[in-house]
């Protein structure tokens, strides 16, 4: 009786082990479109700026502070590339946080802030790139891996169902 080629079993395990993890990662990331409420424009920026930040460095407007935390978590610190600018102590991260604060106080939308950053630092600055033709590969890869895994499982299952059981009399000559 032929044994299943070991490479195929290895490939199956590889796909089964990696695909769900990658997919969960992609799914866990909040979609940007949902997290980007547009802000009614023309906030009284000058008046707000004077009282915007309290003694703890938090924006006094709770809604703005929440958006600040959300945005800075999604922007990559370019100095220490696996930290967000919310977490990083790098000088540049501080400058970028200041920039985000100022833009929020000036009444800019989340989209406008992300655009400002990608115009200067490229898509790499976003931990959560938007779904576009050029990002299709990174968003689609986990699903592709899942399909590939399902296909391999299907192939193996079908092959196995064709195999004679050991206690069954076989017509095949050994």
């Amino acid at each position: 009786m032929s044994r299943r080629p070991s490479w195929r079993r290895a490939a199956l395990w590889l796909v089964l082990l990696t695909a769900p993890g990658a997919w969960v990662n992609a799914a866990e990331a909040p979609t940007v479109a949902a997290a980007a409420p547009t802000v009614p424009g023309s906030a009284p920026a000058a008046a707000a700026a004077a009282t915007a930040v309290d003694a703890n460095g938090q924006l006094e407007d709770r809604a703005l502070q929440a958006r600040f935390e959300d945005i800075t978590k999604q922007l990559r610190c370019l100095v220490c590339q696996n930290e967000s600018i919310a977490d990083s102590n790098a000088e540049l991260a501080g400058d970028l946080r200041r920039q985000v604060t100022e833009m929020l106080v000036a009444g800019k939308s989340d989209d406008a802030i992300f655009h400002y950053m990608t115009d200067r630092y490229g898509e790499f600055v976003r931990f959560n790139p938007p779904l576009e033709p050029k990002t299709l590969l990174i968003w689609g890869a986990p699903f592709f891996m899942l399909l590939l895994g399902a296909f391999i499982v299907f192939r193996i299952a079908r092959q196995r169902s064709r195999m004679p059981l050991d206690d069954e009399p076989s017509t095949e000559s050994r």
């Binding site: 080629p5 490479w7 490939a11 370019l78 100095v79 590339q81 000088e91 540049l92 400058d95 970028l96 920039q99 990608t118 115009d119 200067r120 630092y121 490229g122 898509e123 790499f124």
Partner: protein, 179 residues
């Protein structure tokens, strides 16, 4: 057939991936600049050496120039300084300095002690202009053509070799381009 083709295809795919991914001469921290081909962000800052005067890249319109981002706290900037001095002696293009998040006095001392390769140095104490240029580490060196477009960005200490192989051909092409 599949039995042999599939693992072989997987091997080739991995080999190509690793050839790019594990190439030791690739700087994993060097990011492509989205600024390439776009108009250079304008700035007007105070002159490092003379705070009464301002330095603006508007004055360089129509010229090919180099913008070098540096600071006294930046160790590799010290490393590239001699190369910059030598390059400035060749008088090919104006080299403008952007002194990034530095202390004015220390930066002035640095230039006095080590020599000044710059035609002028803009003092960007709070780092706002640097954000506009997408600076994320020093030293960085930008090349701007006669139409005011950024055509090249080099991240790492400048050397004469890099200047000759990466900058000179682009400068010559930019000048031939009628700029």
């Amino acid at each position: 057939m599949w039995k042999f083709l599939l693992p072989f295809a997987a091997f080739v795919a991995l080999a190509v991936l690793f050839a790019f991914g594990l190439n030791p001469s690739r700087d994993i921290h060097a990011l492509p600049s989205p600024l390439i081909g776009k108009p250079a962000p304008e700035f007007a800052l105070t002159d490092l050496l003379d705070p009464e005067h301002s330095v603006s890249n508007k004055a360089l319109d129509g010229q090919v120039y180099v913008l070098n981002v540096w600071a006294t706290w930046c160790v590799p900037c010290r490393e590239e300084h001699e190369a910059l001095l030598a390059i400035s002696q060749q008088h090919v293009v104006p080299i403008i300095g952007l002194n990034w998040k530095d202390q004015r006095e220390r930066a002035q001392q640095w230039l006095q002690q080590l020599g000044n390769p710059y035609q002028s140095v803009a003092f960007d104490g709070d780092g706002r202009v640097a954000i506009d240029w997408g600076v994320y580490g020093a030293p960085e060196t930008y090349l701007v053509d006669g139409h005011g477009r950024v055509i090249y960005k080099f991240i790492s200490p400048m050397t004469q070799q890099v200047w000759d192989s990466e900058f000179m051909p682009r400068i010559e092409a930019a000048r031939r381009g009628g700029a």
